[in-house]
Amino acid sequence: MRKPKLPGVIGGLGITFKTMLKPAVTVQYPHEREDPPTRARGVIALKEENCTVCMLCGRSCPDWCIYIEGHKEKRPPRREGGRDRTVSVLDRFDIDYALCMYCGICVEVCPFDALFWSPDYEYSESNIAKLLHDKRKLGEWMETVPEPEPLEIGAEVKK
C-alpha cells in the first residue's frame, strides 16, 4: 500500500487548512434557525372535539405521563322520541413533558385521531412544573401541526 506520496502528517495539515478556508457549518441558534422535518416529534397536540375519553393513550404510554379524567353526561336525543345519549366529556387531559419519551405510541393508538405530532420544539421552561401541559395548551399546539407530507415513490397509497 506504500505509494510514493506526501507523508500523512503533511496531508493532514492540508485537510485542516482546507477546512479552515471553507465556511463553517454552524447554525447560530437564537439568530438563525434550522427547520426540523415535517415528521419531527417535537410536541403532541390535542384536538379535543375528537377525544372520546377512551383512555387508550394513557394506558399505552410507557411512562404513564398522560393524565386523563372525564365524566359521562346525558344529552338530549338527536331525533324526537329517541333515547337519551350518553356523551363522555373530557375534564382533564395533561401530558407531563418532563416524563414524556417522545415515542409516539399515544398518537399512534388513538382510534379517533385526537392526538397529532407537531415539530415545534421550543417550549423549554425554567420551572419543571410548567412542563405539565394541560388541555388548553395542548389545544394551542394544534395550530403548529403541519399537513402530512406526500410519500415516496413506491409507497402504497391507502384508498
Binding site: 493532514g12 485542516t16 487548512f17 477546512t19 463553517a24 457549518v25 454552524t26
Partner: protein, 350 residues
C-alpha cells in the same frame, strides 16, 4: 527604550520613572499577548479548522470579548485548594510559571530602541529563564495531591528537560552564524546582510538555518506542552494534567503562562530566523519610522510563526511519552549537532 521615549515625548526621564514605565508595560503586554494569541488561534482558527464558528456573541463582533469575559470570570471564582494539598507550594507554583514568562519578555526587541534590557547574552538568558517553568509545573503536579496531576507533572519533567537540548542546539547554529548572542545584534545582522550579494530582502537566517528553524519549532512546541507533545496535559486522559486541581485566578496564571510563553517563543523564533522587527536595511526606512513600524512588523512575523505552531497543534494526535523521548534523544539532538557542525564548516569556508 529611553531614546524612544525621549524622541516621542521630548522629556527628561529619570531612572526610577523609566523602571516604572517598563514594569507597567511588561505587566500589561504579557496578558494582552496571551489574550490575542488565545483569541485568534485557539478560539477562531481552531474553530474554523473544525468547521465551526467559535464564539460570536460576546462583544458583538465575532466574540472578541470572550477571553476578557473568561478572565473576569476566573478572577471572581472561589479559591479552592484541595484538602490534602501542600498549600504553600500549591499557591506558589503558578506564580513561578508566570514569572518565567514575564522574564522572557524582557529581552525581546520590538524596535530599534524598544527593548526592556538589551542584554549581551540575550538569547542565552531567554532560554535559561524559560526553563524555570519546569519547576513550576513539577510543584503544581506534586502539591495537588492528585494522582492524575502527579502523572502529568512527572511526564512534564522528563519532556521539558529533554526538549531543552534541541532548542539550544538550534539556537547555537544561529549564534555561530551571527557571531553574537545579543538579540539586537542578530536582528541587525539579518537586516543588513545580503544573499550572494543581493540585499533585496536582507539575509533572514531561515535560508541557511532551515534545519535549525524546524528544530526550534518542534522543540518549542514540546516546551509549551502543545500537541503532538501534550502528554503532560493529555486532555482525554488526565483532563488537565498538572493543572487539574487549579481553578480561578491560579488557573488564569497557567493560561497566561502558556499563551504568553507561546508568544515569547514565537517572538524569539521570528527574531532569530525571520529578521525580528527589522525590515531589510536596503529599503532605506529611517530609524524614526521603524520605531513605529518595528512592533507591527514583529507582530506580523509572530503571527506567522504562531500560525504554524497552532496549525500543527490542532491537526496531530499526541505522541506517547516514550515515543516523545525517543524522538528527542535519538532524532532531534543528533540533527541539532549535525546542524552545528555544518554551520561551523560553512561559516569558516565562506
Amino acid at each position: 527604550m529611553i531614546p524612544a521615549v525621549h524622541s516621542l515625548l521630548a522629556l527628561e526621564i529619570g531612572w526610577g520613572t523609566t523602571l516604572a514605565i517598563k514594569t507597567v508595560m511588561i505587566l500589561m503586554i504579557v496578558p494582552l499577548t496571551a489574550l490575542v494569541l488565545g483569541y485568534v488561534f485557539l478560539l477562531k482558527m481552531m474553530s474554523h479548522m473544525q468547521s465551526r464558528l467559535g464564539p460570536m456573541d460576546p462583544g458583538g463582533f465575532h466574540g472578541w470579548f470572550q477571553l476578557v469575559g473568561d478572565g473576569i470570570k476566573f478572577i471572581q471564582k472561589e479559591d479552592i485548594i484541595p484538602g490534602e494539598a501542600d498549600r504553600r507550594v500549591f499557591a506558589i507554583a503558578p506564580a513561578i510559571v508566570v514569572i518565567s514568562t514575564f522574564l522572557v519578555f524582557l529581552v525581546i526587541p520590538a524596535g530599534p530602541d524598544i527593548v526592556v534590557k538589551d542584554l549581551n547574552v540575550g538569547v542565552f538568558y531567554a532560554l535559561a529563564v524559560s526553563s524555570l517553568s519546569v519547576i513550576g509545573v513539577l510543584m503544581a503536579g506534586w502539591a495537588s495531591a492528585n494522582k492524575f496531576a502527579l502523572l502529568g507533572a512527572l511526564r512534564a519533567a522528563a519532556q521539558l528537560i529533554a526538549y531543552e537540548l534541541p532548542l539550544l542546539l538550534a539556537v547555537v547554529g544561529v549564534v555561530i552564524q551571527c557571531g553574537t548572542m545579543n538579540l539586537q545584534g542578530i536582528v541587525a545582522f539579518q537586516s543588513t546582510g545580503a544573499i550572494f550579494g543581493w540585499s533585496g530582502i536582507g539575509f533572514p537566517l531561515i535560508f541557511t538555518q532551515f534545519i535549525g528553524f524546524a528544530l526550534f519549532l518542534i522543540a518549542s512546541q514540546a516546551e509549551l506542552t502543545q500537541t503532538p507533545f501534550d502528554m503532560p496535559v493529555a486532555e482525554s486522559e488526565l483532563v488537565a494534567g498538572y493543572m487539574v486541581e487549579y481553578t480561578g485566578f491560579r488557573f488564569l496564571f497557567f493560561f497566561i503562562g502558556e499563551f504568553g510563553t507561546a508568544f515569547a517563543f514565537s517572538a524569539i523564533a521570528a527574531t532569530l530566523y525571520l529578521g525580528g522587527w527589522a525590515l531589510p536595511a536596503s529599503w532605506g526606512i529611517s530609524l524614526g519610522v521603524m520605531r513605529f513600524l518595528g512592533p507591527l512588523v514583529l507582530f506580523a512575523k509572530i503571527m506567522a510563526v504562531s500560525f504554524l505552531m497552532f496549525w500543527v497543534r490542532f491537526t496531530y494526535p499526541r505522541l506517547r511519552e516514550d515515543q516523545l523521548q525517543a524522538l528527542a534523544w535519538k532524532f532531534l539532538i543528533p540533527i541539532g549537532l549535525i546542524n552545528i557542525l555544518l554551520t561551523g564548516v560553512f561559516k569558516v569556508a565562506f
